[in-house]
Amino acid sequence: MARLSLRGIKKRFKTTDVLHGIDLEIGDREFVVFVGPSGCGKSTLLRLIAGLDPISDGDFFLNDQRMNDVAPSRRGIAMVFQSYALYPHMDVYENMAFGARLMGLSKDEVEKRIADAARMLRLDELLKRKPRELSGGQRQRVAIGRALVRKPDVFLLDEPLSNLDAALRSDVRLEIAKLHRDIGGTMIYVTHDQVEAMTLADKIVVMNAGRIEQVGSPRELYETPANTFVATFIGSPRMALVDVTRDGERLGVTNGGSIATGALPAGQTYKLGLRPDAVKLAKGHGGEGFSASVVYTEYLGDNAYVYVRLADGTLVSARTAPNDLYAPDEAVTVTVEPGSAHYFSAEDGRRLAP
């Protein structure tokens, strides 16, 4: 059982404000991912939850108990670090036993827990090895095992995959997802990689510049991003934002044609958000749509992305069939699938409902 409640959490380092009031509720057994660009405060928030850094302002409750002044080791929280942070002078067994023994568990219980964790993480063969004799992936598993044997209420994982090579990364990602299903604890996972966030999370917390931009399921974030930051951060290639002016039922780009996209929100000017799958290309200028010219093409096998530049200079990506060939500088016309466009306020970037 673990419910976390963050209320108005602020963090100040000397005179720099890093977190400007974070409010967040995390339910039992949830897999929550903090995602955001470097320096957005996601790792800082994780360290505050762990208790490694003091909270400057606000309250943190774990199961309705205020945790602000509780030592990290007494919060019932375990953390997996980016560099794994295994104790170099202890073998794998000792690394896992160290924390468990400090909890005052009996010798048998410690042994049983380590045996369970070792089986689950396939570490049985490695128990007598020192960390320096392990590969990156194995160290990662030991770090997770060390957290597991403490049977914490909450697992914190700080960019656990960033030190692994690409091939291993997707394997370990699957293992972490499976682990969460098997042990069912609350997990908080920090990453800057939106693919990790989308594939693992029950709930994603998108952060930017010390604030939460949006909280929601991967589907919610992708389909109804709350603002332009979330819209461009989630999804690859990123969503294009086109400054458009409304003329009746049509949306026009400066000197670049106009389109009709269906129902429109109130107002005169918007930012029109276009994901690659919402964009349709036709060869040549003229006719319905924005006129544009091809910049370059990315061929990915099962499909291709064509990047085109609109008349006002905005770069828009379109997903096309792999067989559609476009030459650089070729003139094209951009149209939009009805109902698949996003609208954002031209002033503050908030989502506008049609």
Partner: protein
């Protein structure tokens, strides 16, 4: 040195048909021509500009070491086997001198007394200097308030000349005007005021305190450097598992600074058994009072070169003592080093 390093690899690779070696021409040439092969087998420093430069840098210090360190040690070994009259060498006496300093009175009890004092000095400094150094380093490392100031303050005495420290502490310990006694009287502990350097019970301890004050910055610095090598995430990981400073220090920090401990312990051992300047100035050449501050260094000096009250010199006995001290230090320091090396960890 790059040349010789390359040559050093040749014996392993030249006979194999390693594609790497074949490509760059070296391997092909080496296996084709036995002359070149032989020439390449021995790493050698050719007298090119680089070789000359290296020689020019190495030879002067090598001469210095040979002349002022190796030669005296070797000659001390030789002197120890002869009978001496002043600076005049008499007959070869075999192990007689060694026998005298170890087993014949009064030398025997002097040797034992000085050795016993050295052992006390070693263990006392182990606690006062290295122990305190470790605690200071930990405090500095944890960035307690004032750490920046204290980092410099702790190390400052180390750069002072030993002579200055010795006279300074002699003044501190002065029975009437010394700051120690005046302070004790000032805070109402006048009954503790005493002639610190003037009585057998306190003299050695007082000098040890001066030594610890002087040199505590050194182990502190080495330990601090060792601690700063510990990755911060490892400390975070420990904090997630315990809040006890004791557990952190004993189970994590201490094992991880083992390389620093090796250096510090070995140097302290060598220093403690070669101790001379402070007791010489603060206790005098006789290890006053009553030999209570006598250590092997003073005892050796007195035996070999004589002291103020008696001009009696005996190079033979002195050399024998020096050889015994040297061998003892070499063996024990070797054991300490290998033993401690074994528990060092790669971070």
């Amino acid at each position: 040195m790059r040349d010789s390093g390359c040559d050093g690899n040749q014996p392993e690779t030249q006979n194999s048909t390693s594609p790497l070696m074949g490509e760059d021409g070296w391997g092909v040439a080496a296996s084709a021509d036995p002359k070149i092969k032989r020439a390449l087998k021995v790493p050698q420093l050719r007298m090119t500009g680089r070789g000359l430069w290296i020689s020019a840098l190495i030879v002067p210090p090598l001469c210095f070491v040979a002349l002022f360190i190796v030669y005296p040690i070797v000659s001390a070994f030789a002197y120890a086997f002869f009978d001496w009259q002043g600076l005049k060498r008499l007959d070869f006496v075999g192990l007689e001198n060694f026998h005298t300093v170890l087993f014949v009175e009064p030398y025997r009890s002097w040797t034992i007394n000085a050795f016993k004092n050295n052992v006390i000095v070693f263990f006392a400094l182990m606690v006062l200097q290295n122990g305190l150094g470790f605690i200071l380093a930990y405090a500095l490392w944890r960035e307690l308030p004032g750490a920046r100031f204290h980092r410099i303050a702790v190390f400052l005495p180390v750069v002072l000349s030993t002579i200055i420290v010795a006279y300074l502490f002699k003044l501190f310990y002065h029975p009437l005007f010394g700051v120690v006694n005046i302070t004790l009287k000032g805070i109402g502990l006048g009954w503790l005021a005493q002639p610190w350097l003037g009585q057998s019970g306190t003299a050695l301890g007082s000098i040890i305190v001066a030594q610890a004050w002087h040199m505590v910055g050194f182990p502190t610095l080495v330990f601090l450097a060792g601690m700063q090598r510990i990755p911060s995430e490892i400390l975070d990981a420990v904090r997630m598992e315990t809040e006890s400073e004791w557990v952190k220090i004993t189970k994590i920090v201490w094992p991880l600074v083992a390389p620093s401990a090796t250096i510090v312990f070995t140097l302290l051992f060598v220093g403690a058994f070669n101790w001379f300047e402070l007791p010489y100035i603060m206790g005098g050449l006789d290890g006053s009072p009553f030999g209570s501050t006598d250590v092997l260094g003073l005892y050796f000096y007195r035996t070999a070169f004589g002291n103020v009250s008696s001009g009696q010199q005996d190079f033979g006995l002195g050399s024998a003592l020096a050889v015994i001290i040297f061998i003892f230090i070499a063996i024990v320091a070797g054991v300490i080093t290998t033993r401690l090396r074994a528990r060092e960890i790669q971070l």
